[in-house]
């Protein structure tokens, strides 16, 4: 099993640290101006620049989801509407992540409300496709466990474990204090572990992986 975290230098994360300056700040300023002056062209440029990162973050937090494209669209529309609020072009990519996290978190909350009222939220998508039955089973079981976390906990949990963000980065992207980030991660971890152990097959699949 890979012990990624222990071998990781935080500064070398896939996402750039929000506290380090964005080297493309000059480009960012140009991009922001284009978005403000010509929103349609700006949208295309914004999409070209951030589509991969936004898609990945949404995908990691929600998993395969029938509303994935709609949520990505919401993120970009939100960005277009509020890009004028970005004061520092150096922090554009950090701001993009914040918008993305906010939209996804809001979507998770809506789903939790729908689940509370309708017991099962009918998603738009009607099934999922897998080339590997084993992976589909694992993802399905994992999704049920992730659904037991609150929106805040799920986002923090995914950012930490899948996006490999550090706690200060997570706190900044999510807009709360470091202490709150630590508390939420601890709670998410505890709840996740509890629900994971209730699914023996999921626990066994993880153990199998661990042997490797």
């Amino acid at each position: 099993m890979t012990a990624r975290k222990s071998q990781v230098e935080p500064a070398n994360k896939g996402w750039k640290s929000p506290v380090t300056a964005d080297k493309r700040a000059g480009d960012n300023a140009v991009l922001m101006n284009r978005v403000l002056e010509e929103p349609r062209l700006g949208m295309a440029l914004l999409y070209e620049r951030f589509a991969r990162d936004v898609n990945r973050l949404v995908y990691r937090v929600l998993g395969p989801d029938g509303e994935h494209d709609d949520i990505v669209q919401q993120v970009f529309l939100q960005m277009i509407q509020s890009i004028g609020n970005v004061r520092d072009p150096e922090r554009l990519s950090f701001w993009v992540r914040s918008v993305c996290v906010n939209v996804v978190r809001s979507e998770l909350r809506k789903r939790a409300v729908r689940r509370a009222f309708f017991r099962s939220a009918p998603p738009l998508e009607v099934g999922d496709l897998s080339t590997d039955v084993e992976s589909a089973d694992f993802l399905n079981r994992s999704s049920l466990v992730l659904d037991r976390l609150s929106a805040q906990e799920r986002v923090v949990f995914v950012l930490y474990y899948l996006e490999e963000q550090t706690l200060p980065e997570i706190a900044e992207v999510c807009g709360f204090s470091l202490r709150t980030a630590k508390r939420r991660l601890a709670r998410a971890r505890e709840r996740f572990r509890k629900h994971m152990t209730r699914d023996p097959r999921l626990a066994r699949l993880v153990e199998e992986e661990d042997v490797g």
Binding site: E9, N55, Q73, F118, V126, D128, T131, D137, A203, E209
Partner: protein, 408 residues
């Protein structure tokens, strides 16, 4: 011992794969986004009206919730690929594909098949099989109906397991019921005909021949299209909307091992094969069934049989199956036998034979790890560089980049 959550995260990232970040999908998504952005925004309702509407919705929803009978879960499962939308055509090549529905139902589209989900609502799920075979395992949920359409035939599902086959070229149709009951509609059938566990139905349009059998589905026949030579008992006398008792209905243990394996009953499937003689069964199987047997054996912890089945798949003439078997042999070597060197060899074989295969990202990630753990950092960096180049949106790209940057 690794932190189990960390272990879960690694496996989850691996199972998620690259998701929707492939270039083709991004281009389509971008086009839709720009189209949506070019439309004038809808005028938002006035604040008070909005609040009144929200309050009304809450009242209605609360009422609905209070009086809602125990409704079935809607649907949705997860996978490492894009979700299916209504009308979207799904095609398989050398691998089967599984559509998982919440509530435990599952449709497995077998290799070389085409189909789509033609309707979905909480009351009705309808799948259309254009060509090939689909194995259904439907868990009965009150208030929901399932229908599988194949050419002129419609299979109405009650809560059962069965396989539908259709050859798009000839229009031939077949269905084998493994468990429960189905109702069949089609040409020359008077109304709906009930087929129960162990019964099969065949139809060939060119001969107009209809055949019905009351025996357990023959495992050997499950991977081939129906032929006109099969038991010619015409269905003209079949009773409409009546459940016909099968004279020799098969018990679950008598159904084909493929059906058991496809239904996730791996240990039972393996047990059945071993009773029949593993090598005898293997020698009569095609490459995809050999892989299916290997997977069933691997999932049930029978590493020896898994190894034999995958080796047998490699000896077949199908290069796709051979490469896939190499990947699984690596899993057997690693998970079952703890032989890292052998696993490295098989992963290299897989990547040589299928450098852009469906499991190539996972294979590179595993190979990268194994080489790193074995101390071959130069080899690990080489694979990491390949990973970054070939799977830029992959789940292990950050780790691969770190590895490439850590070099001298």
């Amino acid at each position: 011992m690794t932190d189990p959550i960390r272990a879960w995260a690694d496996k989850y990232a691996d199972a998620l794969g690259e998701g929707p970040t492939s270039q083709g999908k991004l281009a389509a998504q971008g086009a839709r986004l720009l189209l949506a952005h070019s439309k004038p925004p809808a005028r938002p309702p006035l604040g008070r009206v909005r609040w009144a509407l929200a309050a009304a919705c809450v009242v209605v929803a609360a009422g609905f919730w209070a009086y809602q009978p125990s409704s079935p879960p809607a649907s949705a499962a997860l996978s490492d690929s894009a979700p299916i939308r209504v009308g979207e055509l799904v095609e398989t090549k050398e691998l089967s594909r599984s559509v998982e529905f919440q509530g435990g139902s599952r449709a497995i589209l077998e290799p070389d098949s085409r189909g789509s989900l033609s309707h979905y609502s909480p009351e009705l799920v309808e799948l259309t099989l254009q060509d090939g075979a689909v194995k259904m395992d439907v868990t009965r949920i009150a208030g929901r109906k399932w229908v599988v359409k194949a050419g002129q035939f419609r299979v109405h599902v009650i809560g059962t397991a069965f396989t539908v086959r259709r050859d798009a070229g000839s229009g031939a149709f077949a269905v084998d019921v493994t468990r429960g009951t189905i109702h069949l509609e089609g040409p020359r059938l008077q109304g709906r005909v009930a087929l129960t566990q162990g019964e099969s139905f065949r139809w060939r349009p060119e001969s107009g021949n209809i055949a019905r059998r009351s025996s357990s589905p023959d495992p050997a026949s499950s991977s081939r299209p129906p032929t006109s030579k099969e038991a010619p008992s015409a269905l003209g006398s079949a009773r409409s909307n009546k459940t016909t008792k099968s004279s020799s209905a098969a018990s679950p243990s008598q159904s084909g091992w493929q059906d058991l394996a496809s239904a996730g009953k791996y240990a039972e499937a393996v047990q059945m094969v071993e009773k029949q003689g593993a090598m005898t069964v293997l020698s009569g199987l095609g490459s995809s069934d050999r892989i299916l047997l290997g997977n069933a054996a691997r999932f049930s912890g029978n590493w020896s049989l898994a190894h034999k089945a995958y080796l047998a798949a490699r000896s077949s003439s199908d290069p796709g199956a051979g490469a896939l078997a190499a990947y699984y042999l690596a899993r057997v070597a690693l998970d079952g036998q703890g032989k890292a060197d052998e696993a490295i060899g098989w992963l290299r074989t897989y990547l040589r034979e299928a450098p852009s295969g469906e499991l190539s990202a996972s294979a590179r990630a595993r190979l990268m790890d194994l080489l790193q753990k074995s101390g071959d950092l130069a080899g690990a960096r080489k694979i990491a560089a390949e990973y970054v180049a070939m799977h830029p949106g992959g789940p292990h790209v950050a780790r691969a980049k770190r590895l490439t940057q850590s070099g001298p």
